[in-house]
């Protein structure tokens, strides 16, 4: 049974990804800051297949030890889903520098360092999948999300070069770019803004976390053997 590590796993999109992977026969190590009751309930349901590590990705210097712990405790890692991210919004001119730093640290530096260490297990076995969760904001832009958008663009760039680097070791690296979804990260979007996002979609709706989880699941299957360096956009057509 293949083991997949999912960051930001205890709620929202990460949680939906864990559920999807468990239903499809994977073992999952979920990493997150605060364990939620819904994640614990899922663990009771999948006692031998779903595990967790509590970790705050602000602690870059502890990522190496975390990776070692995961490998020695749970075994060989097949997949890594870099989903954990912060979504601070605000106009750049008034955004505090500590928040700018934190966004870059958690959304860019942390997944890069985690990938560095987790990919070692894949390199030795010449088999693995890395999926970076970006956002449509990386390419479209959005008022008040300039730093967040910069971090998501960075992750897409990381995907493309790493795909070239690791291809020869039979490791694929891809990006999944969701549009606006109904999660705690977008909970500040209300009423008219939400309606305008919906109206922009040719399907007149928003993508769901389950739609995105399905795509992540697909990229882990043998059907995606020859897909690397790509971006799959899941936004109900909003950016078409």
């Amino acid at each position: 049974m293949d083991l997949v590590v999912v960051t930001g796993a205890f709620k929202g999109l990460g949680f939906a990804i864990c559920k999807h992977l468990l239903k499809n026969g994977y073992s999952v190590v979920g990493i997150g800051r605060t364990l939620t009751s819904e994640y614990q309930e899922l663990q009771e349901q999948y006692q031998d297949y779903l595990f967790h590590e509590v970790f705050d990705f602000n602690n870059i210097e502890d990522i190496k030890a975390l990776s070692k712990k995961i490998t020695s405790k749970y075994g060989v890692i097949y997949g890594l889903v870099n989903n954990a991210a912060l979504g601070h919004d605000g106009v750049l001119a008034t955004m505090h520098e500590s928040q700018i730093e934190e966004l870059i640290r958690v959304n860019v530096q942390a997944p890069i360092v985690l990938t560095k260490y987790i990919s070692r297990s894949m390199l030795i076995r010449q088999r693995g999948r890395i999926i970076n969760i970006s956002s449509v904001i990386a390419t479209t832009g959005y008022n008040g999300l300039s730093v967040y958008g910069a971090t998501k663009s960075a992750l897409s760039g990381f995907t493309r070069s790493l795909a070239r680097e690791l291809g020869r070791a039979n490791i694929t690296v891809n990006t999944v770019a969701p549009g606006f979804m109904d999660t705690s990260m977008t909970s500040s979007l209300k009423g008219e803004k939400l309606d305008s996002i919906r109206r922009r979609s040719p399907l007149n709706r928003m993508a769901t976390v389950d739609d995105v989880a399905n795509s992540v699941g697909f990229l882990l299957t043998p059907a995606a053997d020859n897909i690397t360096g790509s971006t799959i956009t899941i936004d109900a057509g909003s950016t078409a």
């Binding site: 190496k64 070692r120 297990s121 390199l123 030795i124 010449q126 680097e165 690791l166 020869r168 070791a169």
Partner: protein, 89 residues
């Protein structure tokens, strides 16, 4: 057998392992200390695999433990980094 001999042997064995995994061949007669790594036949991905194998086998990665980045040029320098930074030394 001393700890140093063990490390050297592990590195030499893992070096050949990494060559095999990357479908590469040793381009020199043997892995003596003066061999320039870039001319050994192992490319950059091969070195990443070598460091990953050694991390699993020896339980440490000296390059991640260093405060400043160091890039060894010869095989002897590579071995010496592992010997110097080995937690058991």
């Amino acid at each position: 057998m001393t700890e140093r001999t063990n490390i050297r042997e592990s590195i030499t064995k893992s070096f050949h392992d990494a060559l095999e995994r990357t479908d590469s061949k040793l381009l020199v007669d043997n892995l003596s200390d003066d061999i320039v790594l870039l001319q050994s036949g192992l490319d950059s991905l091969g070195f990443a695999i070598l460091v990953a194998i050694l991390d699993e086998e020896l339980g440490f990665d000296p390059f991640a433990m260093m405060d400043e980045p160091v890039y060894p040029v010869t095989f002897g320098e590579f071995v010496s980094i592992y010997e110097k930074i080995s937690p058991t030394e």
